[in-house]
């Protein structure tokens, strides 16, 4: 008897991959970037589907395919999730302490730097009339 296609394994795998590769998309919006709940949700749905598929494959192997590739897909998904969790919950939190950064009440160090048109801009140019917000950022690549 030909065994049935075990679709939850495939769909679960694709959804779990989506959990990782959609990070760049969701990182555009502060609400899904500050905490990556959208990605974690995708990983969760993927895991649930993979589990359903594996239960089918191992519980009723005469009816469903997927013992071998189901296990492989689950292992790959687990690895992707581990990588994602490591990046999100460890690597992104490795920020220098910046203990010597200017504090509230201290004078901001003066500077003069070229803007995107090559024009020099000094801090003093920015302070009138009501001060300036300085945003230090990692850069564009």
């Amino acid at each position: 008897m030909k065994r049935k296609w075990n679709w939850p394994i495939w769909v679960g795998f694709v959804v779990a991959m989506g959990g990782l590769f959609s990070y760049e998309f969701f990182a555009q919006f502060p609400i899904t970037r500050d905490f990556p709940w959208a990605n974690l949700l995708l990983f969760g749905i993927g895991a649930a589907l993979l589990l359903v598929g594996l239960f089918r494959a191992f519980g009723r192997p005469q009816l469903y395919r997927g013992k071998v590739f189901g296990s492989s897909f689950a292992a790959v998904s687990l690895f992707l999730f581990a990588f994602f969790a490591y990046e999100i919950f460890y690597v992104l939190r490795q920020v220098p302490l910046s203990a010597q950064a200017p504090r509230v009440g201290e004078k901001a160090p003066e500077f003069s730097l070229p803007d995107q048109n090559g024009k020099q801009v000094a801090l003093t140019d920015l302070l009138s009339p009501n001060g300036a917000v300085l945003i230090f950022y990692r850069g564009h690549w």
Binding site: P96, A101, V104, L113, Q116, L126
Partner: protein, 113 residues
């Protein structure tokens, strides 16, 4: 930074400038500003001298293990005094414009008293 651009007029209305600082070159900043529609200056601190002076250097964190700035936001008042500092503990979590705006408003209110 896009969220600050979106609410740029609220900073202008308060007489407050915005400037963004990174190690990126003037050329990269020109392209980036055009692409993203940034109307505030993107300042190029290629040697990271200013970034070091503000102690917001992140060693080896760049794409080629070069030194770059960590995310950090300051509000400096008209006298050059720091009134608000935001040093995130997570690279993905940046200051929202409303945080800076309320710091600006609090500073203004404090001066009136």
């Amino acid at each position: 930074m896009r969220s600050f651009q979106k609410r740029f007029s609220e900073f202008t209305a308060r007489g407050v400038h915005i400037a963004a600082i990174s190690v990126d070159s003037v050329e990269i900043n020109r392209g980036h500003a055009q692409k993203m529609g940034f109307t505030f200056p993107l300042l190029s601190d290629a040697g990271a001298g200013v970034i070091r002076r503000y102690d917001v250097l992140h060693r080896g964190a760049g794409p080629k293990n070069n030194d770059i700035a960590r995310p950090a936001e300051f509000y400096v008042d008209a006298n050059g005094t720091v009134q608000w500092v935001n040093l995130t503990e997570n690279i993905a979590v940046r200051a929202r414009p409303e945080q800076a705006l309320s710091a600006i408003d609090a500073t203004k209110a404090g001066r009136r008293d």
